[in-house]
Symmetry: C2
Subunit: 451 residues, 2 copies
């Protein structure tokens, strides 16, 4: 038999894993909607020029071509989107007259990047985004509220704790400009790599590549080293003795955001002055979420404030702030480490056994009656021996098997296949325990704490 | 302001429409899972050779290229899938050892076809598929059960009645072969167009292009004209006097399927001997669902039996049967005709008014208390005049506005903005009526029956 191989970077889950992913998506949707965020879905493609305008991703775009394009048909000029922020801001600018602002939307969709696949980096992956976009002005308050919402969301999921690292682009840019640095993006990119490559390597880049003087490099590293768990972090920045309007504005924002977030449990947020994020479109607060025990995975969520992204080419402003949750990155890691446990691996709560082809209508009647009461079930496809039917239920994790001609009474009986207990049952009243009605997912790191 | 235009064939919905689409998807999922179907999601791409093996779609595939592919990097050899059946059967063959059979799966995903866009035909669209795949043998019974499930599903949606037209490829192929016809696919394709181009045009193709004798053409049309609402349709076919083993086998299957479906309400199914379906992979029963009053749209769901699709290149058989619901096609039509009505256009049931920046914590407390009890809500973003805040709720269709400092009591009050009635309310006990808790969608053709 010819073996079919997976395609590198395009993950697919087995049925029990897909049920877990679905469970995660449902929890995310539920929280997002509780917070008044409305779902949006954008097409998978954007014009290439739109995709190329933003950030460091130009090498990673997949472009589309019709297989049988006619001679001279020309390029389609369409690429698959690499994030959900650029499509959403385009959508807002395009439909502006038909939307109410501030617009709170969530968007759970796939995105594509033609990168080299590695753990946590896929070519096709799910992101779950929440953003608020306002007309003309969006209070800095929302930079903090996004983190409150994110905290609420991630703590409702069966995953390790996520710490949100917070910084502000105005602080970085204001600081660098006050030091006389001209190529600010180059410094941002270098400092952003601090965790990955270390201080010495960053220092090397800043000196050799960007051409900064040693004293300036040292100041940049002083700033990058600052961490803080509350609003006092603002003082630590000012204590470095650098002055400037943009820096001051950024520090005020960061102080305000950190103050609002102070009620969150300890370890939920940290001001981290080396976070910069890759996309060029951020203009203020930036976020990065790191999953405890999985720091090597990099950010599992990220985002920030963008004041100039969604203008639709006009002078009208549509400032926004948002966070993207890297769903595939989180799940891929937890799946590969076996850290998620599902209560079962199939939607069915009950398998209705099939005794014979003649009694198929009776089995179907049982299934129908259970479904009327919202109990997911299926009828075994063929009148095999009961042992085989029970085995099928076991393998799929279906907890109950229903017999129309039970061994004890000759009538309807239901067996809990985990305990083997079988008892008479009435199809119009029998109900599985609430925990067996639908799938439950839990985080399970027993015996893995040493990893 | 530069106007941003939509991209032809890549539909996007406004927020209220997306809520409706989400509502439809949730209803579909609920039904599919009640019937024991497990969700699956496949990657968006397949190897080109896999996509090219099946059916008439070779001209319609979008292939991927990395924008900055290196010189000589070579073709990626990947295309976006044009349906969900080919990816699913590949998935089953690939993961066979880790799946339980029969495998019942549902899959709600986008597919892409590079066709000329027209009403009901998109380049990017949602399909909702259900399929059963067994090892070695799948009883014909399931050809009927898929229709029972489809009937249950579509009658639970707020859409016009769908009639499922049923045929059997064995009947067609057996009949044609018994008449000595060699180019069976050409005849299938011609007869399948009967509704669109009429008998004369089909007759013309069969005579001039396929080269059939007039008497043979007449027999083909005799068969294509047959319609039947029950198992007696089998006799009508045999009455044409054509004989053959394959024909006989197909007629027996069709009779059996129609007999099982007899309990369904009148008009739900019809045997229709001119239905063939475009894909080459069908081997037995084929389906096509037509939406009442929207016959011009063509099939809104379709599918059939495929005994040889999912072998993974081996001699092992993985026969399957499935139906695909054209979700985007249905919604696109109903949206454009204004035939769906949503109870509101936002997830929020309550807008918590913001009186001043100083009382933001109080407003936030109200929102938090409501969310604990699963009541979706949002806090107005800025302390604007109440009139403006109520207007925002009206525009978004949020039914209730909560005031922390109400006009009547100075305390908490809630206003139903549809009636204007405002009354004191306790944030720990007040609950919206069940119909206002989440969005409801209904079919609404008042005043449009003449269309």
């Amino acid at each position: 038999m010819k073996k079919i191989k997976p395609i590198s970077g395009f993950p697919e889950w087995l049925p029990d894993q897909k049920l877990v992913e679905q469970y995660f998506i449902d929890r995310l949707r539920e929280k997002f909607e509780l917070f008044g965020f409305t779902p949006i879905e954008t097409r998978s493609v954007e014009p290439l020029d739109q995709l190329l305008k933003q950030g460091e991703t130009d090498k990673e775009i997949y472009v589309l071509r019709r297989l049988q394009a006619a001679e001279g048909e020309g390029n389609l000029n369409l690429g698959l989107h690499y994030d959900l922020t650029v499509p959403f801001t385009r959508y807002v600018a395009q439909n502006r007259g038909q939307l109410q602002f501030p617009m709170r939307r969530y968007q759970i969709q796939k995105a594509w990047r033609g990168e080299r696949p590695q753990e946590g980096r896929y070519r096709e992956f799910y992101q779950a985004d929440i953003d608020i976009i306002a007309e003309n002005d969006l209070p800095v308050y929302f930079d903090a509220e996004m983190v409150v919402l994110l905290h609420e969301v991630v703590t409702s999921l069966p995953i390790p704790r996520i710490t949100v690292h917070i910084n502000n682009r105005k602080v970085l840019e204001g600081f660098y400009r006050a030091l006389g640095i001209e190529d600010v993006p180059a410094v941002l990119r270098a400092v952003d790599k601090l965790d990955k490559i270390g201080e010495q390597a960053v220092s090397q880049i800043l000196t050799a590549t960007v051409g900064l003087a040693p004293a300036v490099v040292e100041k940049c590293l002083d700033l990058a080293r600052i961490r803080g768990f509350d609003a006092s972090v603002a003082d630590a920045i000012m204590d470095l003795g650098v002055q400037g309007d943009l820096l001051r504005a950024g520090v005020d924002e960061l102080r305000y955001v950190m103050r609002i977030l102070e009620p969150l449990p300890g370890g939920s947020v940290v001001a981290d002055l080396h976070i910069a994020r890759g996309f060029d479109y951020y203009t203020g607060t930036v976020y990065e979420g790191i999953m405890m025990g999985h720091e090597d995975l990099g950010a599992v969520c990220s985002g920030g404030r963008y004041d100039n992204l969604a203008s639709g080419g006009s002078s009208l402003k549509l400032p926004g702030v948002g966070i993207s949750i890297g769903l595939s990155r989180i799940l891929g890691r937890l799946f590969s480490r076996g850290l998620l446990r599902a209560s079962r691996s199939a939607p069915s709560s009950v398998l209705v056994a099939l005794t014979s082809e003649e009694t198929r209508p009776e089995s179907n009647d049982v299934a129908r009656a259970l479904r009327v009461r919202k109990i997911p079930c299926e009828v075994f496809h063929t009148p095999a021996k009961y042992g085989k039917q029970v085995q099928y239920a076991e393998k799929k994790g279906i907890p109950f098997v229903w017999f129309t001609q039970g061994e004890q009474t000759g009538g309807h009986e239901v067996r809990d296949i985990r305990t083997g207990v079988q008892a008479p049952a009435d199809v119009n009243t029998w109900t599985p325990p609430p925990d067996d009605l639908s799938i439950k997912v839990s985080f399970d790191d027993r015996g893995r704490s040493g990893e």
